[in-house]
Every structure is written in structure tokens, then in C-alpha cells.
């Protein structure tokens, strides 16, 4: 057993342990934050180091390949960014910082395990690991008198439990028809079995947990409520990290079905269309920015599903690309939300007023983020969407593609509204927004990343393509 194969997971486990140890001692916000930032940065480096590792572990239940490593890298970067972005942690009780980081690290560990799992039960375990951590983290919010974070947590827990239950139910069916829990085995057997209703049903039910994670219709209900209820920083994590892993698993699992699984694709197409439409329509009338981003992420889940259901390398690469881009765009928005929020409270559209004056860089970050989410070139959102649409159209999903582009047009309204609020309005309080240098650097880096990734997607897409060669 090559130790380096398991290095990222191990590292993040250790990271969690470090914070566990820290939580035992005297709480110190600055120390915790510093250590978290440092260790997460080291994590990114470590993951990058093992990017080219290949191998299998745990009796073939665990596979390290480029696909998983890329996801791990993105996840680690995401983790770093979330930690970086949430340095202020305005919404949290200072005493909980070390615990907070511990659970995040655990959840990340779970996500990393998840992307490498190639056996159904392993997947289940990894999923639970990542989820349970989050269940605990979500109600961490020091909103005096408010119970909204608890409500959010309960929703997340219950819906998560339901989704997991459904997944298990589905897995049992799959195991029932295929007599194996190994993905590699399943990949051999499933394409032939996809003609059977029971296999399809089981398969779709098995995907439910990832629908839940990705916030796809009909398991999207938690998303706006949880975003709204939890602290801004946690929301940033919830909005990005689990989705990366969910996409990875969706890709892995859907690939099992084989190219001939038209029924599965139909169901996925319906889900994609409904997700996009539902997310975008509901977002139109939101005023809470987190809620708005929540709905927006439902829609983006739908877009990503376009790539997933195209069942080809272009589509998969597009899905990976888009979800990675989504990480950047989404974090750009959450950065602004976090900075705008004075004491961890939720941010509404009205709070954006006069932002161009209060903090030009934050306004710019928000603007770029919003335009990117809207899919306006030359930002990453456009390029991702372009790839997704190409892939879907290549498979002949014309109607779905048209629904997607129309949704893009609809979605521009609320993104634009954010930009308008930030740029074209005046606030009563035009005092400068205190933004620390680090956040500025982050904002700037995100902008550059969004643009660069949009304009020069070449390397990333190629990498993603190579990665999925192993999956398909």
C-alpha cells in the first residue's frame, strides 16, 4: 500500500485532529484562524504533489486516479479559499472556532474519500462522514435569539437523512440486480441491465443523495433555507464543497449506466430542466442574497447535469470545468457577502447599495461574479456553459439546450439586479466598507481566476478530459 496514495485524506484527517486538540485548549480566534489558513494552504500543496498518483486501495473499494485527484485538488483549493474567505468568521461564536475548523476539515476529508470511492458502501460511508460534519456545523451561528440556524440545520439533517435513505434503498436494488457493489463490476453489468425498470428505478434512487448534495430538483428544498439560515461562511462552504464531490460521484455513477440508458437520461434531463427553471424563476424575486445564490445554485446544478447526462467526455469535462468555475464564481459572491455583513447577519440586495463607492474592489468582484454566474463572456461561467451546451447538443438534447439558454436569459435579470444595486444606486450610508488587504487580494485573485479560466480554459479542460478517460 502506497502511503502517498492516501496522503490527502490522511492530511485532512490530521488537520481535523489538530483542531480537535486545539479545541481542548484555550480558545483563541486568531491562532485558530492562522493555523487553519496555514494548514489548508499546505493541504493544497500536498494534494498538488500527489496529483499524479495512481492506484487502488482497500480491496479495490478505493481508487486514486487523475479524476479523483483533480477533484481532491479542487476540493482542497476550495477548502483553502473558504477558510481564507471566512477568516473573519463574523457569524460565529469565537469559542467555536476550533471546533468549526475541525468539522470542516472532517467534512472535507469525507468529500475527498467520496471522490475516490469506487464501491457503493464506501461511497455511503464517505458521504455520511462529510454530511455529519456539516450537520453539526450548520447551526453554528451567533444570531442572538434567532433559531433560524437550528431550523436550517434540522432541515438539512432530515432531508439529508431522507436522501441518504433513498440512496440506500436504491443501492439495495442495484445490488439486487447486479450482485455487486463495486463500481468496476457495475460498469460491466449495468449497461445490459438498464433495460429493466427495477434497475433504472434503483439507479435513480441511488443518485438521490447526490441530487441532494448538488441541490437538484426535487431535493433542492433545503438549499435556500439552509443558505439563509446558516452563517455566511458556512453557506460558502455548503454552497461549494459538497457540490464538487456530488458532481464527481454523479459522473462516476451515471457513467455506469452506459450510453444506451435513454430512460435514465430522460429522467436526468427532466430533472435538469426543472432544476434550472425552478432555480432561476424563484431567484427572480429574492431579496436575500444568500437565498438568491441558493436558488442560483439550484439552477447551476441543472446546468451541470447537462454535462453529466451527455454521457461523453466533452460533457463530463464540461461538468467538471463548470463546477470548478462555479466554485470560483460562487466564492466571489460569498466573499462580498461575508465582507458586507457587519456581524454575520444576512445580506440583502438593499445592502449592496452604493457598494461601488464603499468598496470598488468588492463591487467589482461581485459584478464579475454575477456576470460570470450569468454566463456572460469572457468569464468562466460562459465558457463552462458553452462547453455544457456543446456537449448536450452533441448528444442531440436540443430541447434541453434551448431550455438552458432561455434560462440563462431569465437568470440575467437577478444577477444584473445585483450588479445594478452595487453600481447604479446610492446608499444613505456611503462610508467606506472596511476590507482587509487579504480579502482584497482574494477578491483580486478571484477576478483574475474567473477571467483567466474563462479566456484560457485550455489546460483545465484538457486535464479534465484526460481524467474522465479513466471514468468512462
Amino acid at each position: 500500500m502506497n502511503f502517498t496514495l492516501f496522503l490527502p485524506e490522511l492530511y485532512f484527517l490530521i488537520l481535523a485532529l489538530v483542531f480537535f486538540l486545539l479545541s481542548l485548549g484555550r480558545e483563541s480566534a486568531g491562532r485558530d484562524q492562522g493555523i487553519a489558513l496555514f494548514l489548508s494552504a499546505v493541504g493544497v500543496c500536498l494534494v498538488a504533489l500527489v496529483l499524479n498518483e495512481r492506484g487502488e486501495m482497500f480491496y479495490h473499494a478505493y481508487r486514486v486516479d487523475l479524476f479523483s485527484q483533480i477533484f481532491k485538488l479542487v476540493i482542497s483549493i476550495g477548502f483553502f479559499l473558504v477558510v481564507y474567505l471566512s477568516r473573519g468568521l463574523k457569524g460565529l461564536d469565537e469559542r467555536l472556532y476550533s471546533e468549526y475548523y475541525m468539522f470542516l476539515a472532517l467534512s472535507t476529508t469525507g468529500l475527498m474519500l467520496l471522490v475516490s470511492s469506487v464501491e457503493l458502501l464506501t461511497i455511503f460511508v464517505a458521504l455520511e462522514l462529510s454530511s455529519y460534519s456539516l450537520y453539526i456545523v450548520i447551526p453554528f451561528r451567533n444570531q442572538s435569539g434567532g433559531r433560524v440556524q437550528l431550523e436550517a440545520a434540522i432541515k438539512y439533517v432530515l432531508l439529508g437523512a431522507a436522501a441518504t435513505g433513498v440512496m440506500l434503498f436504491g443501492m439495495s436494488y442495484v445490488f439486487g440486480v447486479a450482485h455487486t457493489t463495486y463500481i468496476a463490476e457495475l460498469a460491466r453489468k449495468m449497461p445490459d441491465l438498464m433495460g429493466q425498470p427495477i434497475a433504472i428505478g434503483g439507479f435513480v434512487l441511488m443518485l438521490a443523495a447526490f441530487f441532494f448534495k448538488l441541490g437538484l430538483f426535487p431535493f433542492h428544498f433545503w438549499l435556500p433555507d439552509v443558505y439563509e439560515g446558516t452563517s455566511n461562511e458556512t453557506a460558502a462552504f455548503v454552497a461549494t464543497m459538497p457540490k464538487l464531490a456530488a458532481v464527481a460521484l454523479l459522473l462516476r455513477l451515471v457513467a455506469l449506466a452506459g450510453a444506451g440508458a435513454t430512460d435514465l437520461i430522460q429522467i436526468l434531463a427532466v430533472i435538469a430542466a426543472l432544476s434550472m427553471t425552478y432555480g432561476n424563476l424563484a431567484a427572480l424575486v429574492q431579496s436575500d442574497i444568500k437565498r438568491l445564490l441558493g436558488y442560483s445554485s439550484i439552477a447551476h446544478g441543472g446546468y451541470v447535469l447537462l454535462g453529466v447526462l451527455s454521457l461523453n467526455d466533452v460533457g463530463y469535462a464540461a461538468a467538471i470545468y463548470h463546477i470548478s468555475g462555479y466554485l470560483l464564481m460562487s466564492l466571489a459572491c460569498f466573499l462580498v457577502v461575508c465582507k458586507l455583513s457587519r456581524a454575520g447577519e444576512n445580506v440583502t440586495l438593499d445592502n449592496l447599495k452604493g457598494l461601488y463607492k464603499r468598496s470598488p474592489l468588492m463591487a467589482f468582484t461581485l459584478g464579475i461574479g454575477a456576470f460570470a454566474l450569468a454566463g456572460i463572456p469572457p468569464f468562466v461561467g460562459f465558457t463552462g456553459k458553452f462547453f455544457l451546451l456543446s456537449a448536450a447538443l452533441k448528444q442531440g438534447h436540443l430541447a434541453l439546450v434551448i431550455i438552458a439558454v432561455l434560462n440563462t436569459a431569465i437568470s440575467i435579470y437577478y444577477y444584473l439586479n445585483m450588479v445594478r444595486m452595487a453600481y447604479a444606486t446610492e446608499a444613505e450610508d456611503m462610508s467606506a466598507l472596511p476590507v482587509d488587504m487579504a480579502s482584497k487580494v482574494l477578491g483580486f485573485a478571484l477576478i483574475v481566476a474567473i477571467i483567466l479560466m474563462g479566456v484560457l480554459p485550455y489546460t483545465f479542460v484538457d486535464m479534465a478530459r484526460t481524467a474522465i478517460a479513466g471514468v468512462l
Partner: protein, 513 residues
Amino acid sequence: MEHFLSGNQLGYPILSILTFVPLIGALIMLVLRGDTVSRWWALLVTLTNAGLSLSLYANFDTSTFKYQFIEHHSWIPSLNINYTLGVDGISLLLVLLSTMIMPLCVLCSWTYIQKRVKEFMFSMLIMEAAMVGVFSALDFVLFYIFWEAMLIPMYLLIAIWGGPNKTYASFKFFLYTLAGSALLLVAIIALYLKTGTFSIPMLMEHSYPFAFQFWVFLAFALAFAIKVPMFPFHTWLPAAHVEAPTAGSVILASVLLKMGGYGFLRFCLPITPMASVHFMPLLLGISLASIIYGGYVALGQNDMKKLIAYSSVGHMGFVTLGIFVLNSQGIEGAILQMINHGITTGALFICVGTLYERTHSRMIADNSGIGKLMPIYITFFGVFSLSSLAFPGTNSFVGEFLVLIGAFLQNKVVGFVAIPGAILAAAYMLRLLQKIVWGERGPAPVFDLNAREIITLLPLMILVFWVGFVPGPFLEVTHASVARLLEQVQAGGGVPLGGLTLSRIWHMLCSLC
């Protein structure tokens, strides 16, 4: 590939320079401090770009239809997306128009824009980059990126520096045009999937089955029709024009609308020739409707900017009419008319803007009767108004006349139906002119144009007469490309001459339903 790309005769990447000079200028702008510095910097950058663009014209080879000043770099090889720039006779003038109009836009915003000057100039420079990019991109993805990217600065121009109803107008502008181009993206992808390339010249080389062309054409046409804008997709235009700041209106009128016409010429005709021929009656009908409808609505306006905005609908109707009569006179006239409309309508918006700076109203009634007070202004305004109504000897006449000739060559009925549009143009422009020059004047005194404003308008006036009397140099550059374009259409679909029979119209309508 060499047979339609002629390389770059300049030896340095002129088109990239034209695209990126404003972009870099914009980035440098971000570190500058102070309004005046921003203005001068923007002026410097735009003037530099305008100066640089002259070398395009100077070195353009009119004898060939091939794309010139080519730059070709691989961009996203996995999808065969390339960074290809190049101009031919169709796009050259539009590139020049874009670079030439920008310094004037900067100048006319000199005092008009008092708040957030830096951001304004930043947006303007970004806009210029996108505009040059749109007209010189030879790769469909690149084209689409520039096409959409232009919306952002334009949106900001309207939403930030716009009039009282700016939110509505800017949203409408953005949503409408974006919705229009959404299907364009689908069509682009569909073409790619059919051919495996995004290279526009190569896409023209392929022939596609009719059913495919049919849908691609419709997707194209919707996007371009909204951009042009053609009746009944025009309502974003008056809203945007009225609320936009002067420079915004000028850019909208001078360049943005041209993108629609350019799209028809560059994509619809050569890529989907059969469908173009098939839909010719529909497009001609809509063009005629635009001409007449735009004229009528313009006649009913009391807001100067709205009037000019609706007049754009009419004028651009002539452009699409010229394009879809599918003969060289019509298309050359359409190209020239695009340039003319850019010059004239841009100038008219500048005129309205200068007046607005003085009276703070765009209503005709509030601005009437300034003839005595502002003789220089009236001279300019009069010339541009006359140009707008296609007075002989001004630029618009040549374009309109060519389009009419094209229309008459294609079908006499079409030609005659277009005529009321010309009458209406005379009606609303003369009405405007009469009221502005001679109406009842309130007591508020206004001052005549200052040197800056004269400098802004003078080049446009010179162009009005230059194109009006010596259109040769402007038409010359288009000959080869237009001839080639027609060859492509002819080869692909065959242009029926005078083919606008009732049965054809019926057939077309049936296919639509």
C-alpha cells in the same frame, strides 16, 4: 484555408492591437487618479486607436475578397476554437467606424459626464475593445464572446449614467439582446457539431441540408433582428436610447445596431444561403414594416431622443432591406447605409446631448426656437437632419439610393413600398428641425456650441458630405467582398430575381407554421 485568408500584409498584429490597446488603456485607467486625467487618457487612447486603425484602410487590398490582416492562433484546440482575426470589405468600414466614433464619444461626454468619470471612460474603452473584436473576429466563439461582452459596458453606461428611467431601460436592453443571442449560441454550437469548426470562413465553405439551414437561420435572424433592431423586436432601442447618456446613445446607434446588420451579412447569407433565399420574403417584409413603422412612430414622438431612436428603426430597416434584396447594389448600399447611419444618427445624438446639457430636457417643446440663439448649432443640426432624411448630396442619400436600386432590381413592388419610409423620414426630421429652429422659445437663454463641441461634430459633418459626394472610396473596399458574398449565396441557394411572388410568400409562411 489559404484561399480565403490572405495573411497579414502589415507584419504586426494590427487587429489585436486595435482590440487590446483600449483594453490595456482601460486597465491603466484604473490606476489613474482624477476626472480630468481620465478624460484625457481616454481621449488619448481612443485617438491612438483611431490613428492606428487608419493603417487598416491604407493597406487594405480592395482587389480581393479574402480576409486580410489575418491573425491566427490556436486557442482551445480540443474544441477547435481559434483566435482568428481578420477583416474583409464588409467589416473593414465597421471597424473603422467603431474606432473613429470613439474619440468623438469621449469628447461629447467631456462635460456631460460629471460623476464617476473614470468608470465611465473605463466602460467606454472596454466597449471599444469589444466592438473592434466583434467586427474582426473570424472565429465564431471569439465573435460571440465579444458580442456578449459588449453588453456589460453598455449596460453600465445606461444603468449608471442614464436618465431617470435607467433601470428599466438598462434591464430591457440587456435582457432583450441577451435573450435574442441565446439561440445564436445554440446555432453556433449546432454548426460546430455539424462541421467541427468554429472558423467563420470555413463554415461558409460547407453546405448544409436545408432543414438545418432553416433552423440555424431562424436562430441567427432572431439574434440579429433584435440587435438591428427590426420591427417588432425594436422596443428595447427607444428605451435604451432615451435613457442612455449621449455617448451611450451614440455608440448604440453608431455601432451596436450595426452588429445586427453585420451579422446578417457575415453569417446568415453565406452560411445559410438556402434559408436566406427561402426567408427573403419574410425578411423583406419585416424590413419594409420596420421602415414604415419606424417612420410613423418617430413622427409621433415628442422626445428628441426617442424620435431619433425610432428613426434608427426605419433607417436600419433600409439596411436589412438592402441586405435581403440579395444583389450587389442592395448589399453595398446596406453596408454604406450602416456607416451612414453611424455617422448621422451618432451626430444627431451628440447634437441632442449638447442641447440637453443646456436645457436639461429632451422634449422638443422645451428645446424649440433656438434658431436665433444657436446659429452654429443649428447649422450642424440642420445638416445632420437633412442627412438623416437622405437629402441628396449627403451620405444617407447614396446609401438609401443604392438600397432602393437594389430593391427595384429585385422586385419593383418592394421598391415602391419602401418609398413611404423615405417620405416619413422627411416628415419627422423636418418636423423636428422646424420646431427646434423656429418654435416658440421660452426665456431661458442658451449658449452656442463651444470649440470642443464643434470639434466633436465637425468630423462627422465632413464625413456626411464626403460620403455624400464621393462615396467611391467607401464602396470600393466592399466590391470584392460583396461579389464574393453573392457568389456564395448564388452557389448555395440561388437568388431568385424578382422572385417575390405570392406563391413564394405563401410557401414560406407555410414552412414557418
